[in-house]
Symmetry: C2
Subunit: 129 residues, 2 copies
Amino acid sequence: MEQPPWNVMVATCPSRTSLARIANKWTAMIVIALTSGRLRFGEIRRAVDGISGKVLADTLRDLERDGIVSRTAYDEMPPRVEYDLTPLGRSLRGPLTALGQWAEAHIEEVEASRAAYDEKTMPEEISTR
Amino acid sequence: MEQPPWNVMVATCPSRTSLARIANKWTAMIVIALTSGRLRFGEIRRAVDGISGKVLADTLRDLERDGIVSRTAYDEMPPRVEYDLTPLGRSLRGPLTALGQWAEAHIEEVEASRAAYDEKTMPEEISTR
DNA sequence: ATCTGCGGTTACGTTGAGGTAACAGGTTAC
DNA sequence: GTAACCTGTTACCTCAACGTAACCGCAGAT
């Protein structure tokens, strides 16, 4: 395999648009949700607590367009559509679940750091306890 | 290690704010840039091509607040400030560099998928109606 | 001394992401 | 029949992220 000329650190490189798509909280949560298998729209919406229908629809469309997620619409009534990770999308599970687990594992450290930072930079007013 | 009660899939869980911070294109690129070692503000700005001074300053401040990046200001003239990954930040290098490499490695697949998607969904010409 | 240049930061205006709520359309209940 | 309901999508409006450009403070040049 040749070394590709693509470089996300170059502003005009197309790979940066791809990085922007995958380095995104909604993308991360949707991919994490789909890790356990294919899901319907409503199921993803319930799995990714707090996501609005619009954002979910938009993000899924972008992910489908980029070949990360597959969309299968069944012509029945009421309408049913199932989403799944493509092989390409499955290759993202590792890094993205790692980010999710990192956020959960280190939130206490992060919050402690935030408290120390705020204490140091802001005059002591609220909190103090 | 006990299993933490934190869960990024729950909208109100504090870990989600942390996920939002790290699942971000600017964060990813800055961490990638700092992977090779500590850098000054201007050096990061040159490394992360196209980032504006404001966004770089804001993102670095947030990363410092979260304990991911350390900031060392030298009291000399002209002013000099160096940024480095903390141990916590170093634990992000793996997943974030993986995302960067993914973007570079799969951009051709992604672009092909986009082209196919656009071809399929958009008619050749705009149907004037 | 004043002028110029650079590193880091901040004020302001614009754009685009995201939330709200209504919609399409078929199926069931009446 | 039609009225209510369910799934996925879309129109509209708000607000925060982002880029532009000016700013601040001092060193070195003139």
